[in-house]
């Protein structure tokens, strides 16, 4: 199994500047250290995205699940899309799975607010409540609205980069962004 293979250490020297494709190739060839490089390279974007939409207490857990799923799926990764795009899709799936699990376990609308009680250093309960409130509103947005906001705010992509990534023109992307912010505002005003 992929995760078992990952835990068996082989230590071929790796070039830290190697592309994702090269590292994936090396990982598939049995050099598990290649995954560590991929992990350190992509953790910031995955972590920021997860932290933006998932309650603080669950951020690391969900992040771990994403990378475990990546280790398991990498052997079948064919490189049809960029690794970062593939990982972004995987992240969205895992976040959706997190909320599905949560909905099954408890009442969905009450669940996130309970996290406002979590004691996190540097956060007042009011700012935590606001954060949970915003996360809930983001979660309720249609996927294309949520995605354009996440690309702009968590990955700090420029609008032309978002347009390229989503195969839209720049005007359509900016229009989508404005509609997404308006929809978010409407959710917050409810």
């Amino acid at each position: 199994m992929a995760t078992t293979k990952y835990m068996e250490n082989t230590s071929n020297p790796l070039n830290t500047e190697a592309s994702d494709e090269t590292l994936i190739g090396q990982f598939k060839a049995g050099n598990t250290e290649a995954f560590d490089f991929l992990y350190h390279r992509h953790l910031p974007s995955v972590y920021k995205r997860v932290r933006y939409v998932v309650p603080e207490n669950d951020v690391e857990d969900v992040t771990q699940e994403i990378f475990i799923a990546a280790i398991k799926s990498l052997p079948s990764f064919r490189g049809d899309s960029q690794f970062s795009t593939w990982l972004r899709t995987l992240t969205n799936h895992k976040v959706a799975e997190f909320y599905r699990r949560r909905t099954r376990k408890q009442e969905p609308m009450l669940a996130p607010l309970s996290d406002a009680n979590a004691k996190i250093i540097g956060n007042t309960s009011k700012s935590m409540e606001e954060r949970v409130y915003l996360q809930r509103a983001l979660h309720e947005l249609p996927e294309n609205y949520r995605e354009v906001l996440l690309l702009r705010f968590t990955e700090d992509l420029q609008f032309n980069e978002i347009a390229d990534l989503t195969n839209q023109n720049l005007e359509a992307t900016k229009s989508l962004f404005r509609r997404a912010v308006a929809a978010l505002r409407a959710h917050l005003d409810k």
């Binding site: 953790l43 910031p44 933006y52 475990i68 702009r152 962004f177 404005r178």
Partner: protein
């Protein structure tokens, strides 16, 4: 799309760019109430939701914890059949088993409810049905019992 909408799209996009660069902390479009509300929402998002990536030390610690979790999960692997029959995480399987039981009971009981004209009431086919049905129910109960064992 009207020119006005197009202008608003551009204004809001510019505002978001500047807000992300930390150049703006207040709404900029004081003349347009709708834009002001949207700009406030952008500032609210930017100021409330965290956008910092973990530092190098935290990343390393997280990788260590990830590897520990993988190791733990590898050593605690649950057999496939046990996962399948874990009805708490797999309620669909429980439902399928319940439907299967109902079908088996129906298969057993329906022939005996037929208004046959024969002189012999307990026919061979009924006995066979009962045996097959009983056997299947026994197997299902056994699977359920095994899946409940810790």
């Amino acid at each position: 799309m009207s020119q006005l909408d197009h202008n608003k799209d551009n204004q809001l996009a510019d505002f978001a760019d500047k807000a992300m660069q930390g150049k703006l902390n207040n709404p900029a479009s004081s003349s347009d109430a709708e834009l002001v509300r949207l700009e406030e929402t952008i500032l609210r998002l930017k100021n409330t939701l965290p956008s910092k990536a973990p530092d190098a030390a935290t990343s390393k610690q997280m990788l260590v914890r990830l590897k520990a979790r993988i190791k733990r999960e590898e050593s605690e692997k649950i057999p496939f059949w046990k996962k399948l029959f874990n009805f708490q995480s797999n309620p669909q399987v429980g439902m399928i088993l319940a439907v299967a039981m109902i079908l088996i009971i129906a298969v057993i009981t329906v022939p005996s409810l037929e208004l046959g004209g024969g002189a012999v009431t307990g026919t061979a086919s009924n006995t066979t049905n009962l045996l097959i049905g009983g056997g299947l129910i026994g197997i299902l109960v056994l699977i359920y019992w095994i899946s409940r064992r810790k």
